[in-house]
């Protein structure tokens, strides 16, 4: 009898301490603890390793910090403009590629997915050189007479933002398209057959069949893209260095600067990082709310 008890305990131990144990411990040490510590830090003021409790001093400072507000504004501009453009493009491309009568589907799909294999740093280097003042993109636009003088993509505050949005869209549209494509392939074709027999036009089929069926994927891609855009770092560092005049400074880059470039101010940097945490949480909730299934209400 005792033996059985011991075996049961040992199996329990196996199940709960040994097998997932390493992962659970690592997650608590490198995720749960840091995120709580970061929250604690955001109430601390002082430079370097000298902390003192500062209450809401850091939050007050946020409201008076023009650089923070610019970084927040830029980040919002990036995701409000870039995420819808990219997801719309991805969905349209997926619908086009899902047509079984289309030729060269595999070729198109591979080509459009290809940008996803590049590292963010590597493609940033490519975009930086293509969009140089006297560089390739300006040459092409000038020779097509679309512009009359070169655009200073990297040095102009407005065009620098356009460049960053273009770059991210190039890198991630194919990635998101793959998810839409997979979801479309799971939709039963007979639904479209029935709609066609009933005389439903193509655009209405897209609006009333395709989009509702894609809802879970739209939710997934918008949540992941939002999180990604709020954390934008590699591209702005490597293409524009946050410039010109902080025109492409993002929250992540500002946190990095506060922590590692300027005289380190961990408490304030942690406060800025919590702005991202709160923003991600709120936006995810909104997206879940918008995409919720109304029938189950």
């Amino acid at each position: 009898m005792e033996d059985v008890g011991f075996a049961a305990i040992s199996r329990r131990a196996n199940e709960w301490l040994v097998v997932p144990g390493a992962a659970v411990v690592l997650i608590f040490v490198f995720l749960v603890f840091p995120i709580l510590w970061s929250l604690w830090m955001s109430f601390q003021v002082g430079r370097g390793m000298n902390f003192a409790f500062g209450g809401f001093a850091n939050i007050v400072r946020l409201t008076q910090d023009p650089v923070f507000q610019r970084a927040l504004g830029n980040t919002i501009v990036f995701f409000v403009i870039q995420v819808p453009i990219m997801l719309t493009l991805a969905a349209l491309m997926a619908v086009a590629l899902n047509d079984p009568t289309l030729r060269f589907r595999g070729l198109f799909r591979t080509a459009i997915f290809l940008p996803c294999v590049t590292s963010l740093v590597a493609y940033s280097a490519l975009f930086k050189s293509m969009f140089a003042d006297a560089g390739l993109v300006n040459n092409v636009l000038l020779s097509m007479q679309l512009i009359s003088e070169p655009i200073y993509w990297i040095r102009d505050p407005f065009w620098a933002k356009v460049l960053i949005i273009t770059a991210i869209t190039w890198r991630w549209t194919g990635y998101n398209m793959i998810f839409y494509l997979a979801a479309l392939q799971n939709i039963d074709r007979s639904i479209y057959e029935a709609a066609r027999i009933d005389g439903v036009p193509g655009w209405a089929q897209f609006l009333y069949i395709t989009i509702p069926m894609l809802k879970p994927v739209i939710l997934f891609t918008s949540v992941t893209s939002t999180i990604g855009t709020l954390q934008l770092f590699d591209e702005v560092v490597n293409i524009t260095e946050g410039g010109p005049a902080d025109a492409t400074l993002t929250l992540s880059l500002y946190i990095y600067n506060l922590t590692f470039r300027f005289m380190p101010n961990f408490g304030y940097a942690a406060t800025v990082s919590y702005v991202i945490v709160v923003a991600v949480a709120i936006l995810s909730l909104i997206q879940f709310y918008v995409a919720r299934d109304r029938r189950t209400q």
Partner: protein
């Protein structure tokens, strides 16, 4: 009918344009590697004769073999550790389900969306207090347990036949033997897909290595490519050579395992 034909033509034209834009920077990268820095800056689109010079210049700037060794080491060891730890956890969270484990997992899923930017300050302080700044251990440790990969394995484990496990238990196999001799071989393709995802993100990682690896001996390829952009007169041709080297491994993996690559990506959200 004419209308449909027009629509068709529009679709092909649109897709061709997008496919061209998607692939063009790769051509630009290869052409750029053969041109002088000045030619790259003025957007020269034909092959030049500066490839040798660019390679030589790149190798004179950095200890390239060392950099590649560092990057490979970090990516391979990181991938191996992540797969072992996360597949075990994903297996356990699905096979040994209890109310407590389900709640713990739900908590983990909520934390899936915690941005890295919010962790980097405390992680930096932890790693530097542990004396791990400038070490590969410092780069690797925080990334081993990935909630995303655990989730991935947990989802895949749902398809692992319970009969196999029950039969093995009746045959007297211990739990670790079931995992090692039955689960692992059956889940080969899940492991392959996860390997691709983890290896790629590890090879391409930038922000965390930038914080942890500060001496030149320990740099990884993304840090090298990034550091070449600054300075008084960046050598564009050499940057292109560096970019090719940084992109080649993931490009090769993509073309060798294209189907599995895409399946792995999509399977992760099913």
């Amino acid at each position: 009918m004419n209308n449909r034909l027009f629509g068709r033509a529009f679709t092909y034209a649109g897709l061709s344009l997008i496919a061209f834009i998607s692939v063009f920077p790769f051509y630009w990268m290869i052409v750029g590697a053969t041109n002088t820095s000045a030619d790259v800056t003025i957007g020269k689109l034909t092959f030049g004769s500066a490839l040798g010079d660019n390679i030589q210049h790149f190798f004179s700037l950095f200890d390239v073999p060392r950099v590649l060794l560092n990057t490979t080491f970090v990516a391979v060891v990181g991938t191996a550790l992540t797969l072992v730890v996360c597949s075990m956890a994903g297996y356990a969270f699905e096979i040994y389900r209890t109310k407590f484990s389900d709640r713990l997992f739900a908590l983990f899923l909520v934390m899936l969306s915690i941005p890295f930017s919010a962790l980097m300050i405390p992680l930096f302080i932890m790693i530097s207090r542990a004396g791990l700044i400038n070490t590969f251990a410092g780069v690797l440790l925080p990334g081993i347990a990935s909630i995303f990969i655990i989730f991935y394995f947990r989802q895949a484990t749902k398809a692992f036949p319970h009969e196999l496990r029950d039969a093995a238990r009746i045959d007297g196999l211990k739990e670790w033997q079931i995992f090692l001799y039955i689960y692992l071989p059956v889940m080969r393709s899940t492991y392959a897909a996860a390997t691709i995802i983890v290896f790629m993100s590890s090879w391409n990682n930038y922000l965390w290595p930038l914080i942890v690896l500060q001496s030149n001996d320990n740099k990884v390829i993304t840090l090298i490519v990034s550091s070449m952009r600054s300075g008084y007169n960046p050598q564009q041709g050499s940057i292109m050579v560096a970019t090719i080297i940084a992109t080649l491994p993931t490009l090769v993996i993509f073309f060798l395992l294209q189907r599995r690559f895409v399946e792995g990506l999509v399977g992760s959200v099913k």
